[in-house]
């Protein structure tokens, strides 16, 4: 199978869908000649022309709102927000409007639209190029929030997002873009949104994670395996809808759970996962469900010495795994 990077997988998914369906188009800042700041749409302008590859004015609320309007008309827009840190003006359109349109019209209309954005840190991006935004969107019924970690998942899930009949917030961890490479089938495939994936099987404890942290968790699992701790690593892949079955099946097997996420700990995805386990699998537990997550500061600082305090890494995660295993 060909080996691809995450950014290549993202690019291929959009390219194939735009080739397949003339209603699919992209809009966002610098998506045209520049091919996107991360080159997600490199070559698109040449392939599909200016009408379907729209360099927008610098206004995120318009990018999302116009995508919504085009979706209402029957198109299938992919809106790119250049960095997740800049999505806030568009929240009014995505959360305020898009999430509620189907419900608020009693199903008379719906929005096949995708809002893609690079998120996450560890790249010296400082306060405004490192934010994790998934919890804000995942709070809202009406949106789907996808957070792939590998090239295979990114491609299959982005294709699913583009074909979905409801608005999908598609979050790509920017540190994985070039760092993470993996096999991507040459043949056409689509992965279902809302299904988690066991990325490593184990028996001592279940580690539930997504995004860049998946890779750190796999590394940590490798480390502690030598100490006799067998970690099952679950990649959520989608944080809404949440694959509670996959989480519960694994926790019932291992009796221990560690949730790992880069975002701020309080009220993050891990809080929901922990609550689901506590509600549904309390009797199976041999240890408190534990969260390992970002610190309670509003964003990731720039200086390397500060950034590394914010970011989890395989060593910190391995330590977390040992604690839960020993409890």
């Amino acid at each position: 199978m060909p080996i691809k990077s995450v950014i290549e997988a993202v690019r291929e998914a959009m390219y194939e869908e735009m080739t397949r369906d003339p209603r699919v188009f992209v809009l966002g800042e610098d998506v045209g000649k520049r091919g996107g700041v991360f080159l997600a749409t490199q070559g698109f302008l040449e392939a599909f022309g200016e009408a379907r590859v729209i360099d927008t004015p610098l206004a995120e609320s318009a990018i999302a709102g116009i995508a919504l309007g085009a979706a209402l008309q029957g198109q299938r827009p992919i809106a790119e927000i250049e960095f997740a840190d800049f999505v806030w003006p568009a929240v009014n359109q995505v959360i305020g409007e898009a999430a509620r349109l189907r419900y608020g019209s009693r199903g008379q209309a719906h929005l096949p639209m995708v809002v893609r954005m690079p998120y996450g840190g560890g790249i010296r991006g400082g306060l405004y190029h490192s934010q994790s935004v998934e919890a804000f969107f995942a709070h809202v019924p009406g949106l789907k929030v996808v957070t792939p970690a590998t090239p295979y998942d990114a491609k299959g899930l982005l294709k699913a997002a583009i074909r979905d009949e409801d608005p999908v917030v598609f979050l790509e961890h920017k540190k994985t873009y070039r760092l993470v490479r993996g096999e991507v089938p040459a043949e056409e495939y689509v992965l279902p949104i809302g299904v988690a994936d066991v990325k490593r099987e184990g028996t001592t404890l279940t580690c539930i994670t997504y995004g860049l942290m998946l890779h750190y968790c796999l590394e940590a699992a490798q480390t502690v395996a030598q100490e006799g701790i067998s970690v099952e690593v679950i990649d959520l892949r989608t944080v809404r809808p949440l694959d509670t079955q996959a989480i519960l099946d694994s926790v019932r097997k291992t009796s221990r759970a560690l949730v790992v996420y880069e975002d701020n700990k309080m009220l993050g995805v891990g809080a929901e996962v922990a609550a689901v386990i506590a509600e549904e699998a309390f009797d199976s537990l041999d240890a408190p469900v534990t969260r390992l997550a970002g610190p309670e500061v509003p964003a990731m600082p720039f200086a390397p010495t500060l950034e590394s305090v914010f970011m989890l890494n395989p060593e910190k995660i391995a330590e977390g795994m040992r604690k839960v295993a020993r409890y």
Partner: protein
């Protein structure tokens, strides 16, 4: 003589040399500051290429606009500044030192704007009333308007300037801030540094009009266009806007036409979207060279003096670089501090 205007109603500002209130010494100070800014900017870019500065947005091509504006702003009894990420010349003109700047770009201990929590020059300098709060495009515009509202409420005679690019002019925050300022006749100078690009997006995809300042009449405020590669013209145009603000006549949308020679930031590759000939052409409007030639022509600057300025700038930038390179990264001991105030 009637004021020359665009078809959209903005004033095309032209320097009135007879009214220029700058002495030869003033002009030399402006010039030597510009020399310093250029040397510093080039060094920071180099530091990025050496892997020492994570990211930088160069102000090359914008120096005359920023320094002209700050020189005029400094004359206000009270002035506050809400710049954007490309405003290093403004910061230096206001009194931020090369050392402080270099500490910021290398993210070292002692950095004064954010304690190296943010990119170089992002953050706040209350001592200078310099609020470079974030690098999110155009969020600073309503902040400036709110600050000006505060000045009005407290009857503080002040002028507030906020800077943004041609791309920044598209944000809702820009429209909303301008409208409020015009309604309340607030002492704000909306200073648009129009370099005709927002990263790769050219002006004609950003707006269907040629001039940002043509929007001013629609808000009910003065709109002025100035050649931002001409420091004296920008100074005088800003001075008029400051005076208008201080007289209580409300805001001005002042558009400085400038050039960007370099990629958007050190992370960008402009060969993907910008023809080289266009960059060559832009370089013909180098504000530093233009000012140098002007001052040499007037006999205010001599080759010898210019040499001295260049050497001084180089020495100062060298010193700043060595200082910042030797400084440690910040210790994370206050990592959890300043999320809230202490109770």
């Amino acid at each position: 003589m009637p004021t020359p205007r665009t078809s959209g109603g903005a004033e095309r500002f032209e320097l009135n040399a007879g009214r220029l209130d700058l002495s030869p010494e003033d002009m030399l100070e402006m010039y030597s500051t510009m020399v310093l800014v250029r040397a510093l900017d080039e060094r920071i870019w180099l530091m990025n290429r050496q892997g020492k500065a994570a990211i930088v947005a160069s102000c090359q091509g914008h120096e005359a606009a920023q320094l002209g504006a700050v020189w005029a702003m400094r004359q206000a009894p009270s002035a506050a500044y809400f710049p954007y990420y490309r405003d290093m010349a403004l910061a230096i003109g206001l009194g931020v030192t090369p050392k402080e700047t270099m500490l910021g770009f290398l993210a070292k201990e002692g950095e004064r704007h954010s304690g190296a929590r943010q990119f170089g020059l992002q953050g706040i300098r209350p001592d200078l009333k310099l609020f470079n709060n974030s690098n999110v495009v155009s969020t600073q515009i309503p902040h400036a308007v709110g600050y000006a509202l505060g000045c009005k409420l407290s009857r503080e005679p002040a002028a507030v300037i906020t800077c943004f690019g041609d791309g920044g002019a598209s944000q809702g925050d820009c429209h909303e801030g301008m409208n409020f300022a015009a309604v309340h006749k607030l002492p704000v100078i909306f200073f648009c540094e129009n370099n005709r690009y927002a990263i790769s997006v050219p002006l004609h995809k950003q707006m269907a009009v040629e001039h940002v300042a043509d929007r001013a009449p629609g808000y009910g405020m003065a709109g002025v266009i100035v050649d931002g590669t001409d420091i004296l013209a920008t100074y005088q145009a800003t001075q008029k806007a400051v005076q208008r603000a201080l007289r209580g006549e409300g805001p001005t949308l002042l558009e400085a036409k400038v050039e960007r020679y370099l990629p958007h930031t050190s992370d960008d590759d402009d060969t993907r979207y910008r023809p080289r000939e266009e960059v060559q052409e832009a370089r013909k409007h180098d504000p530093l060279r233009l000012f140098r030639e002007l001052l040499l022509g007037k006999g205010i600057l001599t080759e010898a003096l210019d040499q001295r300025f260049q050497q001084q700038a180089k020495a100062e930038v060298n010193e700043a670089t060595e200082f910042a390179e030797q400084a440690p990264y910040p210790e994370p001991d206050d990592f959890y501090e300043h999320v809230y105030g202490r109770v």
